[in-house]
């Protein structure tokens, strides 16, 4: 048998275990709430509350409740000053640490698209309108993309170096994929990986200006799909050399077995209509895992519900995977950009652990040009061993990871 190789053929030296995971998203706080929301097909998209959307076409998003997010932040002034994104990261890492208190990463790799953007907005708006700038130093200090990562690490006494990947909407999957390769190559024993993003006016308005977001429901792969809705959240996976994890008796939640990355250079905001970019990423993930495409039991699609994305991705999926169940869980929680790949990796993890197919809600009829087996509207039980998660982004960045149920 050929030894497994990485996305581009490198000889593998280690199996990569997921030993802990944490998540906060519109679907809920933690793995249990997330699983319940997925099983109940909850629509977690609602009216935007954080800023005015009166002039936007789209008025909705998947949002994390501040009442819960900030409830436990404490009275310390420093904690009060942190950006919401930091609190999301702290919340996600809290769950990881509770599951794996001995996990000390050699490296942390996190995806994001916009860091503490809303603090940048406060700063600019206050400057522009000659308003109160007393809090400007706080906004500026908490704006950098690496800050929420460092805040979360500091909160739990973790001091590993961090790499913050900003590959647009593929960032979270890129982060997990790169972390996977770092452990698989034997260069690192443990890597903390994931993604975060908090909703902001600038980004929301940007997608609205492109008419990529919809005033209607988010309907991935539907004939009448009309665009995406935004979301937010944070998710983390603790990856460890499987042998090392075994030796210390760590519970293994799943294995990451493959990663594919590709770049298509068609257009900065649109995929190549042929679907070549997504297809290459998925192909490379399958090659990396040294499995057959037919072994993939479920695809958690990028599925933004924009006309172009779903068409390109759908073509890639149907070319490679004949009849595999497909869903986009963005229909339930919106597109959380840099966090999306990480949250969806956790959706896949839960699907494997609890043997069910997460639903693609708001679905009525498949696009006439696509031939896909959509998990329409309701979760359903299934026998799952290997699942694929896709993320694609502006700039033609495409990433896919393969996750497998752990079998000792």
């Amino acid at each position: 048998m050929v030894e497994p190789s990485n996305a581009n053929g490198r000889k593998a030296t280690a199996r990569v275990a997921v030993v802990a995971a944490g998540v906060v998203s519109p679907l809920g706080f933690g793995l249990n709430e997330t699983r319940n929301s997925l099983r109940k097909s909850r629509d977690c998209v609602g009216p935007v509350t954080r800023f005015s959307v009166a002039q936007c076409r789209c008025k909705t998003a998947g949002q994390v409740s501040d009442d819960r997010l900030l409830a436990n932040r404490g009275e310390a002034p420093r904690s009060q000053r942190l950006h919401r994104a930091s609190h999301m990261m702290i919340q996600a890492l809290k769950e990881v640490v509770a599951q794996a208190p001995q996990f000390e990463p050699d490296l942390t790799v996190i995806g994001t698209t916009s860091g503490g953007m809303s603090y940048g907005e406060h700063y600019y708006r206050s400057l522009r309108q000659a308003a109160d700038l007393r809090h400007a130093p706080t906004w500026i200090a908490n704006y950098p993309a690496q800050k929420p990562v460092m805040d979360a690490q500091e909160f739990f006494g973790i001091a590993s170096p961090c790499q913050v990947i900003a590959n647009a909407c593929a960032s979270g999957t890129n982060a997990i994929g790169h972390a996977f390769e770092c452990v698989r190559s034997g260069r690192y024993e443990r890597v903390l990986a994931g993604g975060y993003d908090a909703i902001s006016e600038l980004v929301f308005t940007g997608f609205d200006s492109l008419q990529a977001s919809t005033p209607e429901k988010c309907r991935p792969f539907d004939r009448n799909r009309s665009g995406m809705v935004l979301g937010e959240g944070a998710a983390l996976l603790a990856l460890e050399n499987l042998d090392g994890a075994h030796k210390r008796g760590a519970p293994i939640l799943a294995e990451i077995i493959g990663y594919g990355i590709s770049t298509d250079n068609f257009h900065i905001t649109q995929p190549d209509p042929s679907g070549v970019g997504p297809r290459q990423a998925m192909e490379r993930a399958v090659e990396s895992a040294d499995i057959l495409a037919g072994e993939v039991d479920y695809v958690n699609a990028h599925g933004t519900a924009t006309v172009f994305n779903d068409a390109a991705e759908g073509k890639g999926i149907q070319t490679l995977f004949n009849g595999v169940p497909v869903s986009s869980t963005k229909s339930m929680m919106g597109h959380s950009l840099g966090a999306a790949g990480a949250i969806e990796a956790i959706v896949c993890l839960l699907a494997l652990q609890h043997q069910f197919l997460p639903p693609n809600i708001n679905f009525a009829a498949l696009d006439d040009d696509l031939n896909l087996n959509i998990v329409a509207n309701d979760a359903r039980p299934a026998v799952l061993r290997t699942v694929l998660s896709n993320s694609f982004g502006f700039g033609g960045t495409n990433a896919s990871i393969l996750i497998r149920k752990f079998e000792a």
């Binding site: 698209t113 522009r128 400007a136 950098p144 170096p161 890129n174 770092c182 700039g395």
Partner: protein, 385 residues
């Protein structure tokens, strides 16, 4: 794993081109500061800007609407490939990875985009500007120009991000089917960024930058790009390198500090780890801020006899591009066996700094040290021969 530097590209306020900028530095020249202001701001700031004359080669159709940050990156990236004699076709483009290091990103277009929203509401937001506000827009443009279809990553961080990107390249290049990794650091300067750093008392109003001064009067921001093309050593011939190979012997993973006072501890650890071999020079990131004290303290304790150089008084603080600039400086110093003068440093300092051109005969190893302004630090060791 050691990686060879196969080619380099440099866009700076002292012009572009590796040899041209290097000669300017050897001659003790420093960039001219220009003053930038903002209609709603009550202050002006001095910055070092890239002259338009340095931007030859940035006229690609893909860059027509792109911000200058993408144009800087394209010029530097293409220069690095040209310098290495590498032409990317469909075959080797797939075997080439691209990593970008960025701090503030496309801040000029981001400000314009948001300014329209603040002034006239969401309906005036420009769909043409928005894609250029995304951190990976410069990487996307260069990938398209070069036809890269494989791995492309954009890393975001502070001044240490350039060295973090090289560390990432080292990890990626463990992959034997990658032949090259092009690492590009790029940054553009804007009034808004100057004002933000001023609120943390990190910028000064006018030149000069005084490195290692006890007063810590602050830095001046600058812009530009640096690019290095990395190749795996066994496959990289001496002919390609144009002489003895320059190698990145070790890229340190670095670390984070939560308070400025802790920066020296992280820098010391990096220096201790990298200083296991005999070190002939250190390219420091000293820029007139607290960074200088952290680096000075660590250098004094770990390798007090080693020659130290910083180019920031001459070129300014370019943050996302800075780490790449420092690696280029180390490479040129080792290759040319010479070091430019350190400008505007205090006379009374315990570190070995030279205010004139210094010969480096027999120099074989350099450490590049980068202590960022937002709590990240990194380092690497470079060797020749």
């Amino acid at each position: 794993m050691s990686l060879a530097i196969a080619g380099m590209g440099w866009v700076t306020p002292l012009g572009s081109g590796i040899d041209s900028v290097w000669e300017e530095l050897l001659d003790g020249h420093e960039a001219s500061a220009t003053t930038i202001s903002e209609k709603f701001g009550d202050r002006s700031y001095s910055v070092f800007r890239v002259p338009e004359s340095a931007m030859a080669g940035s006229a690609h159709p893909r860059l027509r609407r792109a911000s200058v940050i993408s144009r800087f990156a394209a010029v530097a990236g293409l220069d690095a490939l040209r310098g290495a004699g590498v032409e990317l076709g469909s075959q080797n483009a797939e075997r080439t990875a691209l990593i970008f290091a960025i701090s503030n990103g496309g801040v000029i277009y981001t400000k314009r985009f948001y300014s329209d929203i603040v002034d006239a509401g969401a309906q005036s937001a420009s769909p043409l500007l928005f894609p250029e506000t995304v951190y990976n827009a410069p990487a996307s443009h260069l990938a398209a120009i070069l036809g890269i279809t494989g791995a492309s990553y954009t890393l975001v961080g502070d001044g240490a991000v350039g060295l973090a990107a090289i560390k990432m390249a080292e990890d990626l290049m463990a992959n034997e089917t990658l032949d090259h990794c092009l690492v590009v650091g790029t940054e553009e300067v804007d009034w808004l960024v100057c004002d933000a750093y001023r609120r943390w008392r990190l910028v000064r109003t006018a030149p000069p930058i005084e490195p290692f001064s006890e007063q810590q009067r602050g830095m001046l921001l600058s812009e530009g790009a640096g690019a290095i093309l990395l190749a795996r050593l066994p496959r990289h011939s001496l002919a390609e390198a144009g002489g003895s190979p320059l190698t990145i012997e070790c890229a340190h993973p670095g670390g984070c500090f939560t308070k400025r006072a802790e920066a020296a501890r992280i820098v010391k650890r990096i220096l201790t780890d990298l200083g296991q071999r005999e070190i002939d020079l250190v390219i420091s990131s000293a820029n007139g801020t607290f960074v200088d004290q952290a680096e000075c303290s660590a250098l004094e304790q770990i390798i007090p006899e080693t020659l130290v150089y910083t180019a920031k008084p001459a070129l300014g603080e370019s943050i996302g591009a800075a780490g790449l600039w420092q690696v280029i400086l180390a490479a040129k110093a080792l290759r040319c066996a010479e070091l430019p003068p350190v400008l505007h440093a205090p006379a009374a300092i315990t570190l070995r700094l030279s205010s004139s051109r210094t010969s480096l005969s027999e120099a074989q190893r350099a450490i590049v040290l980068s202590c960022g302004l937002n709590q990240q630090a990194a380092g690497l060791r470079l060797a020749i021969g």
